[in-house]
């Protein structure tokens, strides 16, 4: 049963085709990877689905309801959450308040309930120092905070845009653990990632984009042996 589905999604920037005829789906509790070379349209897909860009054609369906042209805050309330490739913590708020924003506006909770939600999510993701300003947080903590804020909207689908970038191997392990915890909450997750070991360990299935077009999909081990994927992105066959 698909939670999120796109049909022939299309987006151009002037003459540049960023996403072309993209049809894919995300099923319940699935972790889907989106991979592809720089400029393949991965982040554009997230921007289209989260509503920051409007598509030039095609449809986006969440639980079979059309959200193709819904404004971003509306999509968030219906269950689409995301993080950003360059981390964007809300700098004038504490860690706790950052998470509260998601609960207050994504779930329409009261201040009191949102405070409780933030504390719960802080415990879940092992985020300490919830009362400190975000400028005091480490890179790992800021990235967890982004996930926490997204999780506080109680999403059905969560998009993670390169959450592993800039983390060392220990931090990456901690982050992987956090992502799995999120999945256990019943959330379907879509990760854009360049670290192939993460994709291999984390995802149930991947889709490969090149020049805005879907060129392959399936379990990572199958896809990584696909000659088209090797030519377009991987360069050499990855061992599985």
């Amino acid at each position: 049963m698909s939670v999120l589905r796109t049909e022939a999604l299309e987006r151009h920037f002037g003459g540049l085709v960023a996403v072309h005829d993209l049809t894919f789906e995300l099923t319940e509790r699935e972790i889907l990877g989106i991979i592809g070379p720089n400029g393949a349209g991965k982040t554009t897909v997230i921007n289209l689905i989260s509503g920051l860009y409007m598509p030039n054609g095609g449809r986006i369906l969440l639980d079979e309801r059309d959200i193709t042209y819904a404004p971003p805050h509306e999509r968030c309330r219906r269950g689409i959450a995301r993080t950003f490739q360059l981390v964007h913590p809300l700098a004038d708020l504490t860690a706790q308040e950052n998470i509260m924003v998601g609960a207050l506006f994504g779930q329409r909770q009261s201040l009191r309930a949102a405070r409780r939600t933030a504390a719960e999510i802080g415990r879940l993701l092992d985020l300490r120092a919830m009362n400190r300003p975000v400028s005091d947080l480490t890179v790992l903590e800021v990235k967890k905070l982004e996930i926490g804020r997204a999780l506080a909207t109680r999403p059905k689908v969560l998009f993670l845009d390169e959450v592993m970038a800039g983390l060392n191997s220990d931090e990456t392990k901690a982050m992987l653990a956090s992502v799995r915890i999120v999945r256990e909450q019943g959330v379907s997750i879509c990760v854009v990632e360049h670290v192939m070991s993460v994709i291999r360990d984390l995802t149930d299935r991947v889709i490969v984009l090149d020049g805005g077009t879907l060129i392959a999909q399936g379990p990572y081990c199958d896809v990584s042996a696909d000659p088209r994927v090797i030519v377009a992105y991987l360069g050499e066959e990855e061992t599985c």
């Binding site: 004038d92 924003v101 998601g102 506006f105 201040l111 997204a150």
Partner: protein
């Protein structure tokens, strides 16, 4: 705990309330005009908390002045109701304008709002049947027949009301909505904040406050005119007050308003013809060396003295 926290506010309000018993008419007038500017400073800052730099303060102030005076002259309604009407008109006009221009950001929004005062004043100047044209309109008498103590209390009420609204903005979900919009609009949107609705709401509320301040001012001085009511002073002095005190808070603009209000009056007496120069110099120096304002400076000092926050060193 809650009661203890309220004590300083109650004391402050009470002190401000009994001030007329301790001073004369002159100081009452100075305090009154200071508080009008302080109200504008606070409302300007409230919009700034959403990240939008608005320069429409004097426009909505003048609009509120005119609306209050014209309604009062036409209908002989109670002055308070005409002042409220001034706020209503300013808020309604801001809502309509906001629906159009709040799609703009940064410099574009700032410049558009800056034009509003000129537009309003030109329109009113050219509608002599309604607005009295270039001469404006006089009231038969000022509110409370010019009793400075009652006028002081009226303006104090306005200032306290604005402080309460500002604190509501700071203590409810509005605070998190506006701060998230200011810090990163894309994050706010994708976290469920209806950014456009919040911006229209804040623009309407702050403009209504400016309209109420304008209506009050017009009743206190008994006239409106295209030049006087839309004077850029009603933009620049409040802006300087908020910057001096410290932006993005209730107490920054209040503090800056009190300091700058007193200081400008003192300078006016000392250097009758050059006080605006000194005043300008103060603003430049503060912006250069105290970018967080007085409030930021005090907070930094508090952090250096851990015991001041009740923590063990």
């Amino acid at each position: 705990m809650r009661i203890q926290r309220a004590i300083p506010y109650v004391l402050g309000a009470a002190l401000a309330g009994v001030l007329p018993l301790l001073t004369g008419a002159y100081l009452e007038q100075v305090a009154g005009s200071t508080m009008i500017y302080l109200t504008l400073a606070l409302s300007w800052d409230m919009l700034l908390r959403s990240g939008q730099l608005g320069f429409g303060t004097h426009g909505f102030f003048g609009l509120g002045s005119y609306a209050a005076v014209l309604l009062f002259l036409e209908t002989d309604i109670h002055p308070f109701l005409s002042i409220a009407f001034g706020g209503l008109v300013a808020g309604a006009v801001a809502t309509l304008i906001g629906l159009a221009v709040l799609r703009l950001r940064g410099m574009y929004f700032a410049i558009t709002t800056l034009a509003l005062a000129s537009i309003f004043s030109v329109v009113l100047r050219n509608l002599p049947q309604v607005s009295g044209g270039p001469e404006g309109k006089m009231l038969p008498s000022c509110i409370y027949a010019g009793d400075t103590t009652k006028v002081y209390w009226l303006i104090l009420g306005l200032a306290l009301l604005t402080i309460v609204v500002s604190e509501v903005f700071e203590r409810t979900r509005i605070h998190l909505a506006l701060t998230s919009i200011r810090n990163d609009e894309r994050v706010a949107k994708t976290s469920g904040v209806n950014v456009f609705w919040y911006l229209v709401f804040v623009f309407a509320v702050t403009s209504a406050i400016q309209g109420i301040a304008g209506g009050t001012y017009a009743h206190v001085f008994g006239f409106v005119s295209p030049e006087g009511s839309f004077s850029a002073n009603f933009l620049l002095l409040p802006l300087a007050m908020a910057l001096l005190g410290g932006i993005h808070s209730t107490w920054g603009p209040v503090l800056g308003g009190l300091v700058l209000g007193a200081l400008s009056e003192y300078l006016k007496l000392q250097i009758p013809y050059g006080h605006l120069l000194v005043y300008g110099a103060i603003i430049v120096i503060v912006t250069l060396f105290l970018p967080q304002g007085i409030r930021g400076m005090l907070r930094a000092a508090m952090r250096r003295v851990p015991s001041a926050r009740g923590e063990k060193p």
